[in-house]
Symmetry: C2
Subunit: 129 residues, 2 copies
């Protein structure tokens, strides 16, 4: 294993491995329920803003701009803990959500189960958003 | 919102939104501890194999091949539940891991905390792998 990879995996220096679009993957789960709430992406600016403010910031790939989660909906994700993975291209956010994390108004984006022959509902009704 | 997007978000048809590399993001967490174990990617073949066998399969981007997690280490991830996100480009695997999920030998890939000035250990020692 190359020295840089070894340092990245076994060191304590924050050295994110951004992809060709300059992004790492961010996954947020609720510290209270353990439920996975959402998955999004961060560029260096979003990561720095998240560390500084302790409120989740992402890079919106569809809008091409920095996005403070909840800036419009009010449904911020307050950071309790952040953990980086082995190769530093993914970050796990343990959060206290102010409201529903999904843009559909559901608590979590993961509201359908995968079965042998399609999907089934876990949280059926979309809510006001 | 376009009809196809609406169907993708509010329908029960499995219709993954693969990225330009033909991949969706997969996140595995332990059903027993709630801990996030690892993040990887699936192509259509890996997703189909996972649904069929109930053992996690991924697409190895570094090796460019289908990868049954644990095929070498024995550390399989046995699927208890699978949930797809709103826009069908991410899947949450709730699993019972046979052994450490991380290639470093740690239980989880997320073994370091992000602090204001770098990283700190949650699980310090890499293990045999």
């Amino acid at each position: 294993m190359a020295k840089t990879d070894d340092d990245r995996e076994e060191g304590l220096r924050l050295n994110p491995r951004y992809d060709r679009d300059g992004l790492i993957t961010a996954v947020a789960s609720s510290v209270d329920t353990g439920e996975l709430l959402m998955l999004a992406h961060m560029n260096a600016q979003a990561l720095a803003a998240t560390i500084e403010t302790r409120v989740a910031h992402f890079w919106s790939r569809s809008r091409g701009k920095l996005w403070r989660k909840g800036e419009e909906s009010g449904n911020e994700l307050h950071i309790v803990d952040m953990r980086l993975d082995c190769d530093q291209d993914a970050i796990w956010l343990l959060v206290k959500p102010v409201g529903p994390a999904c843009h559909t108004g559901r608590v979590s984006c993961f509201y359908r189960r995968v079965t042998d022959d399609g999907l089934e509902w876990i949280d059926r009704e979309p809510h006001a958003h």
